[in-house]
């Protein structure tokens, strides 16, 4: 079943400094099936994060629709959980906030929270405030917070971009493990080709602005995946090289990065 359906998405905005109308997203259409891991890749400034923000309901699109479970959505909601690049944890909270919003009783809330902390490898840290956790741990917590809330889609906005390389590898592997265990539906924004290929079932490749879908690449690599084994597969390199080519090609053809109309 289709969990997330994006059709004809476009975003124009007026540059508040120059007053020009800028087309950030030209026309983006793709779907994410239930239990599927889909990443979106594109040259920098192509509006990947804008696509995510529109899906999350933080930003309004100029044209097109976002459907979650067949229903058109408008504004943010608990059916679309977001893992932010800068974790966006509440400095003053240790408890499972989203669960309280759902009206789940306290005892059950605690149970769910502990279960998900264990899932992401944070068992025993339930009484810590965010500033007492490391960058990697905060991002794990961000994932736990969303999964515990059982959204229809988990939206991840470059969650590992500001984390050191070693920790990032570990987080990518753990995310894959959690995904293979739970099979949530994930939409993942990144600019790291290897990361996209390693994690995803399919990769949506965008062109430069005004961005369109250049190609949706299917990643047919066996699961369970681990970094060493999976990245050593010849198919892995093949797919990664294909995406690299797509991205540089897109850059040559589209000309200037900003297209003002």
């Amino acid at each position: 079943m289709t969990a997330l359906e994006i059709s004809g998405l476009a975003k124009e905005y007026v540059d508040s400094y120059s007053g020009d109308r800028v087309t950030a997203i030209g026309e983006v259409t793709f779907t994410v099936e239930e239990g599927e891991f889909v990443s979106i890749l594109g040259p920098s400034g192509c509006g990947k994060t804008t696509v995510l923000n529109i899906i999350a309901g933080f930003v309004e699109q100029t044209a097109g629709t976002v459907k979650v479970g067949g229903r058109v959505v408008d504004g943010p909601g608990p059916d679309r959980g977001v893992v932010f690049q800068n974790h966006a944890l509440f400095p003053w909270k240790t408890a499972a906030f989203g669960l309280r919003m759902k009206g789940i009783p306290a005892a059950r809330r605690r149970e769910i929270a502990l279960e998900h902390l264990e899932l992401v490898g944070l068992a025993g840290f339930e009484n810590r405030y965010p500033h007492e956790l490391s960058g990697g741990m905060r991002q794990r917590l961000g994932v736990a917070r969303v999964l515990a809330n059982e959204p229809a889609v988990m939206l991840m906005d470059e969650p590992f971009a500001s984390i050191d390389a070693q920790t990032r590898r570990k987080l990518q592997e753990d995310l894959t493990r959690v995904f293979e265990l739970r099979r949530p539906t994930v939409f993942f924004v990144t600019h790291d080709i290897d990361e996209a290929v390693f994690l995803s079932d399919r990769v949506v490749v965008l062109s430069r602005r005004p961005s369109r879908v250049r190609e949706i690449v299917t990643v047919d690599l066996p699961r369970p995946r681990d970094w060493q084994g999976t990245t050593a597969l010849p198919e892995f390199r093949e797919i990664a090289n294909h995406i690299t080519a797509l991205l540089s090609e897109g850059g040559d053809r589209e000309g200037p990065e900003l297209t003002a109309a």
Binding site: F58, F90, M101, K102, H131, N149, L155
Partner: protein, 286 residues
Amino acid sequence: MVAPTDGALDRAATRTPRRRLAVWLRRVTRTGAVRTLGPFVPIVVLWWLAAELEVFPAAFFVGPDAVLTEFLDLMRKGVLPGYLSDSLTRLAYGIGFGLLIGLPMGFLVAMSAWARRLTWPLLLFFQAIADIAWLPIVIVWFGFSLTAVTFVIVYTIVFPLVLAVVSGVEQVPQELVRAARSLGAGRFRVFVEVIVPGALPAVAGGIRTGLGYGWRALIAAEIIVGTSGVGFMMFDARRVGDVSEVFLGMIVLGVLWYAMDALVLAPFERATVERWGMVRQVEAGR
């Protein structure tokens, strides 16, 4: 520095007199009283020296001993406790109403675009009329009463508080609001669970500034409206030329503010914004 265990310290202490002195110093400076009072020791010594050496004529500048005698005398007569309780009652009323008005008003102005458009010019205009500048008209309206003093204190507290709340709300990261919304929180929930705690560091700062202003306004009002209170005591003492009472009044003001900070404001901040890692810990000694 890694602190050695007490046993290790004791063993070290038996070695040389100098070590023993160092250990003693470390023990003593670790206690709260020394940390609080320590910085005042050189000032009091300088003060005492200046008085003893008669740098200024004794009629204008009295030493710590004279002030202490005055303090004991006024305490025995019950004058100081009476004035103190008058001042503190006024301050409590002023602060109470000030917070009651300032906090909701601040959040209203911060959250609602039209409330901001409507009130912002007014806020800036009335902020410019200094607290004491209201006294003439306030005395005409309310006479030399508690109401008059309370009005002035409330007035001084409200403005810095409103401005602090507005800037506090503006500082709440957009991502936190978004995160709460996509976890299913409605507008009211976002306000209670995200905006209010997120604005707290700035609000706490605003309360601190507001109370400081209110405290000063109280003394100024007592000097002018003056029928009782610490401010009145100081000004009245000046009239009769009792310098030691003026000095005493100044010291009482400092001590009271310090007590308010140490007993109310600092513990509140320790339990909230410092615990949450939103501000650096104010200082090691607190």
